[in-house]
Every structure is written in C-alpha cells, then in structure tokens.
C-alpha cells in the first residue's frame, strides 16, 4: 500500500471499504499495511472514529494510524477531531541525534511500511513542522530534484524545508499544513459541492500542477489525500508528497491500493507516466467533487476493487454523463481523455477557465457505443473464410475459439494474421476491439479474445469457449460443475481466473455480473486468506469445489445456502480436537463474509478430522513402540543377569549333588539367554550346566546316595 505514514488517510479509506473481519490481501502476510488495516480482528472504522488511537494491536512496523488525520494535519482546527487520547502522544520513534538538536518531538503522526511521520517543533522558532523518517539509509537522493523542490514556489507545493541522512535514516522536513487534506475536508463536508467551490479548488490545483510540470516534475499520485489545505478562507491548497517519496514509489507498484489506482490514468497501468498523467488525476478529483463520488466508488461510498478498476481503465471510457453542467463536463472529457497526448493540459484548461471550449479528442458518446460504424469493404480471412461484417466475424470467433486464440497468440510476434486482424478492426472502426487487443491479450488470451468478440458484436449473449454465459446458461454450467463434470469445472475455473463475468456485465442476459464477480472474488480471497491462517493445506480439487460453492453463494440471496452443511461440519467432534478448527468454528463473522466462512469450515473440517485421526494413530503407534521398548529393556536386564547366574548355576551343578540336578538345566537356560550379552560366559554356563548335569547323574548323585 502506501509507503509511509504520510498517507495515513489511505488506510482509513481502505478500512472503510474492506469491512472488519476480512482480509482482502490474499497473501495475508502480516507486515503489509493493507493487511494491518483490514485483517480480521483489527476492526477499523475510519468513518466513525477519527482521531482515535493508534492501532497498537496490529503488527509492529505496519501500524498505520488509520484514523488519524494525514501526516501534516493537526487535530486542532479540524472540525471532526475528537479529543486526543493519551495514546496519541505515544512516541515510538526517536529522532536521530542530528535532528534532535534542532527539533523537539511533539507527536507521532503515524507510520507506514517505509517511514514514520512525526510532528515536531523547531527548537529555535518554535514553529511546527513535520519530519518524515524513512527507516533506511540506502535511498538514493536526487539532489537536483530535491534542491528544485526546496527552492520551489511555496504557493503551489508543500514546502520542503530540509532533507538529509544519517544514523540509518533518511529524512525530510516538511511544512505543516494546518487544515489537513482535501480528503478530510470531503469527509467533513461531503461532495457534491457547489460549482463555485469546485472552481476554487480548480483554481488552486490546475496552476499547481502546471507549475510542478514546469519544474519538470510529474506528481503521479494526485488524489484528495495528497492535496493539503493551508487555509480554508480563502481556500489555499498545495500539492504534497512530491519529494523523496517518489524514489520509493518508483519501486512500488501502483495499484496495490484502490485509492491510488482510482486516480491513476490508464497509461499508468503499464508504468507509462508523463506530464499529462497528473491532469487525468485532476479530472478524477474534480469528478469526485462534482458528482459526490468517484466513478470507481459505489453508491454506498465503498470502493471497487483494484482488479475491477484496472479492467475498467483498460476497457472503458470514464463516463462523465453524471456531470450535468455542460461546461464542467467538457472539462472532464478533456482531462479524462484516454490518449495521453490528446489529453488536456495547461493551455486547454486555462482556455476553458476563461470560458473557451477547446476541442476534445474523443467525441462524446451519443447514446451507446454500439453504433455500427460506416461499413468498410475490407475483408479479413479467418480460418480460410473471408469476412467483412464485424458481427459475422464475431460469430466466427465464438465458433472457432481455438483458431481465434492462435491468431491472438501472434500478437507478440506481430504475425501477419494478427496484424491483418488489427488493421481490419481499425478500418471497421472497432476501437474497443483494438483496445482489447492492445491491452487484454498478453496476460489473459482467452479474456482478450472474448473482449474482441464482444466488442465486434455487443448485442449477443457472450460466449466463452463455446459456453454461453447468460444467466440461465451460467446457472446450468454451474449445476454441471457442481455435479462434477470435469469440463464444466474447468471452465468455471477459467472464468474465475480470467475475471470473465466482470467483462460480461451489462451484455444481453448478463446483468449484475460485475457485482456477482466482485462478491465471488472477494469471498474466495477471504476464504483463501482465512485458510492460509489456519495453516491447513487444501487440495486443488477441494479449492475448485470451494470456488464453485462460493460462486453459488455469491448470487443474490444465496449467501446462506451452505449454512446448514457448514454448521454440521463445525460440529465434527474429531475435527474440533484441532485448536485451529475450534477457533475457526467458533468465529463470528460479518454478514457478508459468512459464505466464505462456511466454505472454509466445510473445506477444512475433513482436514482437521484427518489431522486428529492421524494424531491419534501416531499416539497409538508411539504407545506401542514405547511398550515394545520397555519389554525389550526388561528382557535385556534379564539377559544381563543371566550371565553371572548361569555361571553360578553351572558351578553349583558341578559341585552340589541333587541341587545340581536342577541348577544344571537352569544354567543351560540362563546360558542361552546370556548369549546375547556375552558369548564366552554363555558358553561357560551352558558347558558347566550340561557337564554338571551329566556329572550329577553319573557321579555325584550315585556318590551321594552310596
């Protein structure tokens, strides 16, 4: 997620959409910030508890003060702050000596994976500022850029007061913005805002971005949380998070956090940032202010997941029709132009502000994107047959799925067939299909093929590898899969892995599929994370079954479908011997994660049971082994004693009449036993016993009775 505590507000919003009791992070590894905020047990509710304490319960080093105001924001003066508890003053981090001379720590503002954030007081001037301490010294410093930042006009950018390194840290000293971030402000006074207010935001941000760009810097991460407020009246906004962080950001993938990817332009998915990237982000921020929520926010304010956002960014225009005002909509269309080189920049926005109407590259979609372009008579030969009608080609692609995959497999090689297809699509003005080729094919060829076919003919039921995916057919497929048909199971797996249902959303017969798919993926991820915490290892076949089950429960109103079997499974007395299973079975889960919980219980109960049985068998084996060891030990003891006893008995057989008659055979017996301990003593005992007995008969007894 974020790289430092400066983004504390991010975790707040993450926490807001990832409800307690789940973790969306499939790796589930503690030690990642995202995990810390959304892991089960660490219930965070950013919306309701601003200004409460640090979440000390989660893993050290990952603790983000999810609820505190952003780094450079004080509680004082912010309308939503509640009294700080003593815990807030808890300071985990000390300043390195070089800084301690100059600054006095006031408060811990939070921490991220890479950095701690401290509010400090300048010992000389007494003024507040913010120290961001990176817990590593090996960060390369771009002196030139940092120098530029320090000299930058403080009107537009948050002031970088100083930076340095030493004692295992790299630090930045930043200006302290007293009014928090735009995101806080949005929380206090929710959008939609009055156009006049949005104008004042625009008037602050557009020049700031233009100024930063003029310094040769691209921010790359403009979002409400990174826009800080110096004063409210008049509104004075500055861009923050320009400095050193970028070096870290550069090594991290964007997109691990919805709040970042929701504002990032499409080209950022491939890592291609340019100056125009910031203008896209500005468009997204303004959209949010005007409409009241981001295009990637659901009506209830929760955020869509990253995968979905990426899919949307790749495949769809941002629909700005929710902006009613014509002039504003023009601005957003200009800023949210997908092609970076055609996106509006400083000139166009300035023109727009002055009341002008600069041209927008993409025409405003009239009613639907499915209007047939003017027919081209170009013919594409697919599987030996000529096509010049997109609809017919779409049908052929659906029919001859594998041939389609073979053509698309030529993308990286730029094979003639692939290039001919792309060329043909362009001639027939199938921009969406071309986009699907460009972005969708490499990672997931089947999804790419499906998108191409759908873009060619959006008016038919989508088909995946010969399987119709409208509601009725999908249910049939699901039924077959549940019944154990291998082909159906495999297709469902592919549909899951490729996120096929999402792209079908809204096509004929496929309404509500994005939600369905989202619930499905979410619950599977939740279940997997929970299973990982139990440490149980689940076979692939069981995982497949679990995915199926969770698709069933993802349908509206079906989430309790498996409540009863899960309850039964949780009663498995053998399984309950395992502490982890006991914990799992006794766990209370939030409503929306119950289906996942049921699946986990059902999947792991047999494992726990097997573990118990194995443990019992093992215990039994060990008991038998111990018994046998004891027996052998005892026998050994006897054997050991047999050595002297055998010899003595032998001697007695030699010397004492009558008694020798008994001690002779005894000596032979003991001698045999003693053989394992001492061969010579055993030979002696047997010999003496044998000869003694004979002597008894022949000499001693006759002599004694004579």
């Amino acid at each position: 997620m974020t790289d430092n505590g400066y983004h504390a507000q991010d975790s707040g919003s993450t926490g807001r959409h990832a409800a307690p009791g789940t973790t969306r992070d499939t790796t589930g590894a503690p030690g990642t910030t995202l995990d810390a905020t959304s892991a089960p047990g660490t219930t965070l509710d950013a919306g309701s508890a601003p200004g409460t304490t640090l979440d000390n319960g989660s893993a050290p080093g990952t603790t983000l003060d999810a609820t505190s105001a952003p780094g450079t924001t004080p509680d004082s003066g912010s309308g939503l702050s509640s009294p700080r508890t003593a815990g807030e003053r808890f300071i985990r981090v000390n300043l390195p000596p070089a800084l301690l001379q100059k600054y006095e720590v006031d408060r811990d503002l939070g921490a991220g994976g890479e950095a701690d954030l401290l509010l400090v007081k300048d010992r000389v001037s007494g003024g507040p500022c913010v120290v961001r301490l990176y817990r590593r010294q090996d960060l390369p410093l771009d002196e030139d850029k940092l120098g530029r930042l320090m000299r930058a006009d403080r009107q537009h950018l948050i002031r970088l007061l100083d930076y340095g390194r030493g004692d295992g840290y790299v630090w930045e000293i930043l200006e302290y913005a007293a009014e928090g971030s735009l995101e806080d402000l949005l929380r206090r006074s929710p959008a939609p805002w009055d156009p006049q207010q949005v104008f004042s935001v625009f008037d602050q941000l557009a020049p700031a971005i233009a100024y930063a760009n003029s310094l040769g810097m691209v921010h790359r991460d403009i979002k409400p949380g990174n826009v800080l407020i110096r004063s409210l009246l008049p509104l004075d906004l500055v861009l923050a998070d320009f400095g050193l962080t970028k070096f870290i950001a550069a090594t991290q993938h964007i997109g691990t956090n919805s709040r970042t990817s929701a504002y990032a332009p499409p080209e950022a998915i491939g890592g291609g940032y340019s100056r125009s990237s910031d203008w896209w982000s500005l468009g997204m921020v303004l959209y949010e202010l005007l409409v009241g929520r981001s295009p990637f926010q659901r009506l209830d304010g929760t955020w869509m997941d990253d995968r979905f956002i990426t899919t949307q960014l790749i495949s769809r225009e941002i629909d700005v029709s929710a902006v009613t005002d014509d002039h504003w909509r023009l601005l957003l269309r200009g800023l949210l132009t997908r092609a970076p080189d055609k996106r509006w920049g400083p000139q166009e926005t300035a023109m727009w502000r002055a009341g002008g109407k600069p041209a927008v590259a993409d025409p405003e979609p009239a009613q639907s994107a499915t209007t047939t372009g003017p027919a081209s008579n170009a013919t594409y030969v697919f599987a030996g047959v000529g096509y010049n009608d997109p609809v017919e080609l779409a049908a052929a692609l659906r029919r001859d799925w594998n041939e389609g995959l073979r053509v698309l497999a030529g993308r990286k090689l730029k094979t003639p067939q692939y290039l001919a297809l792309k060329d043909w699509l362009a001639k027939h003005q199938r921009a969406e299909a071309v986009q699907a080729l460009d972005y969708g094919v490499d990672e997931r060829p089947e999804r790419g093929l499906m998108q191409v076919a759908m873009a060619l003919d959006p008016n038919v039921v989508p088909e995946f590898n010969g399987y119709h995916l409208d509601d009725a057919h999908l249910r049939d497929l699901l039924r077959d899969a549940v019944a154990g048909q291998p082909a159906a199971r495999q297709v469902v797996d592919q549909i899951f892995a490729d996120g096929i249902l999402t792209i079908c959303d809204g096509t004929p017969g496929c309404s509500g599929y994005a939600m369905l798919d989202d619930r499905w993926h979410r619950s599977v991820e939740t279940a997997l994370a929970r299973i990982q915490r139990t440490g149980a290892r689940i076979s692939d076949a069981d995982l497949q079954s679990m995915r199926l089950q969770l698709l069933v429960t993802s349908y509206e109103g079906q989430s309790h479908q498996f409540m009863e079997p899960a309850r039964q499974a949780a009663l498995n007395s053998e399984a309950l011997y395992q502490p982890w299973f006991r914990e799992l079975a006794g766990e209370q889960t939030a409503e929306q994660y119950q289906a996942a919980q049921h699946a986990v219980i059902m999947a792991t109960a047999p494992i726990a049971e097997r573990q118990t049985i194995d443990q019992r068998a093992e215990a039994e084996r060990q008991r038998i082994a111990a018994e046998q060891r004891e027996l052998a030990e005892r026998r050994n003891q006897i054997d050991k004693w047999s050595v002297p006893l055998g010899v003595i008995c032998g001697v007695l057989a030699f010397c004492v009449p009558v008694l020798g008659l008994f001690s002779g055979p005894a000596a032979i017996y003991l001698g045999v036993r003693a053989r394992r301990v001492s061969t010579s003593a055993s030979t002696w005992a047997i010999g003496l016993g044998g000869v003694g007995t004979l002597l008894q008969f022949t000499v001693l007894i006759p002599a004694a009775f004579r």
Binding site: V381, A383, G386, N388, E403, A409, L413, K414, T415, P416
Partner: protein
C-alpha cells in the same frame, strides 16, 4: 545455442505420380518420390536454412523450378544474417527460375512457392512467397508466421486453395516478387513447422497443433503428420520440415550425441 534438431520429409502423396516439392535442410536437398522422415542435427554457428518449395504446374517443370529455387537459396546461406539479405536471396532465386526458363521454350511458365526459415544466432527469419506455410509452435499454440499469397475471397466464401497471387517464376515474363518477411527472437523449445499446402489443405491447424503437442519426439511428430495427411487423401505432394530449438542446457547432453547420427 546447442544443435538444432531438424526433421524433414517429402512425399508425392496419393494422387500424384511425381513429386514437385523440394525440401532442403542446411544444404541437403531432397525431392524424392516417397521419402521417410530424416533427422538432422545442425550446429547453428553459421546461418542455417531450412526450406520447403512447392513446384507449380501439372508438368515435371514444377519440380525443376522448386529444386532450382531451393538450391539457389541454400547456396546463399553463409550471407543470410538479416532480413534484407534473405529477401535478396529470394529475389535471386526468382531471377534464377526465370533465367532457367529462357533455356527451353517448354519450360516457360514453370514456378514454385517457397517458405524458408533462417536461423541466424538468436534470431529466426522467416520468408515466404506463395502459399507454403511456416508455423511456430510456442506455448502450445500454433501461430502462423508466413503470409499466404492467396486471393482474398469475397465475404462469406472460403479461400480458393489452388490459386496463388505470386510465386518464384510462374509467368512467362520475368516478374519481380515481394517476399513476406518476419523476424522472431528464438526461445528455447520453439518448434517451427515448414510445410507445403499438401499438408495444410488436408489437415486443419487444430489437428496439426494437436499432433505436434502430443508427440514426444520430432520424428514421431513428423511421421504422425505425414501419416494423417496420407490417410486424409493426400491429393497433393506433402513436404514437412520440423525445426526444434533445443531447450536450454542442463537438458540431457547425451541426447545430442545420439541425435548426431542420421537414421
């Protein structure tokens, strides 16, 4: 790179009593009536050429053209380091065919298609004229690298297999050709299939892909493809060249030594 494993075969099929196809691997050329798969191990220290030429026309002159074109291109092998040189070699073969035509009036109009694969270091250059094809099998997908010089059919109709829009020779007057070129970076395990239309007219790509994927040995793969073609009728001459790029070393070294012997 270790040695290339090449298996080649040419066969007259079941309907023709002559073989106008020519295959050539690193200069070894064959146009026998009913060949058996032959396996080569070629060290690609210098550019290696594998090619299939499909002589055109019902008369024996088709084979003359294909043999001549194959020999001309194979002779140029040492210089074929880049696409331009390959294109030049193909043009030179075209000139050679027309020059040969001038020798006897009866040979006028003889022609041939050509598809060739040049392995030059880590690059592979594929060039073709006509409808003999080159496929790459990578990640279990059969991707066509060559571009057919076929007449684009009217919408809704199938391509007419017997007509090509350009060939080496094939007309009475010398006509220049524009070979289609594609360059590909080699990756270990790649398999390139060169074939005449005698194979692709009989077997769907799907089938060819399946046969290649399931065969565990190049000779078995070629044998299976040839067998399937003959079974399907083999109305034309069939030629198949399968080039296998070795997987990275610690694959079994012993195998290479064995492959050195031509069965």
């Amino acid at each position: 790179m270790r040695q290339l494993d090449v298996v080649a075969v040419t066969h007259r099929g079941r309907a023709r009593d002559y073989n106008q196809d020519t295959v050539s691997v690193a200069g070894f050329q064959s146009g026998v009536l009913e060949g058996q798969p032959v396996r080569f191990a070629v060290d690609p220290v210098r550019p290696v050429i594998c090619l299939v030429a499909d002589g055109l026309g019902g008369l024996a002159e088709g084979s003359r053209a294909s043999r001549l074109a194959a020999a001309t291109i194979a002779d140029a092998a040492p210089s074929l380091h880049d696409g331009r040189a390959v294109a030049d070699a193909v043009r030179a073969a075209n000139d050679a065919v027309y020059a040969e035509m001038a020798v006897r009036p009866a040979w006028s109009g003889m022609g041939t298609t050509i598809v060739l694969l040049v392995v030059a270091g880590e690059r592979i250059i594929c060039a073709n004229v006509g409808d003999s094809r080159c496929f790459l099998l990578r990640d279990a997908h059969l991707v066509q690298l060559s571009r057919d010089d076929s007449v684009v059919p009217p919408p809704g109709e199938a391509t007419v297999a017997t007509v090509v829009t350009q060939s080496l020779g094939g007309r009475s007057e010398p006509t220049p050709v524009a070979p289609h070129l594609i360059e590909v970076d080699v990756s270990p395990g790649d398999r390139f299939l060169l074939c005449s239309d005698g194979l692709t007219d009989e077997l769907e790509p799907e089938r060819i892909e399946a046969e290649l994927v399931k065969a565990d040995d190049p000779v078995a793969a070629v044998t299976a493809l040839l067998g399937a073609t003959l079974e399907a009728g083999a109305r034309d001459n069939v030629s198949i060249v399968l080039v296998t790029v070795p997987t990275e070393p610690p694959a079994e070294q012993a195998g290479t030594a064995q492959e050195g012997t031509v069965p």
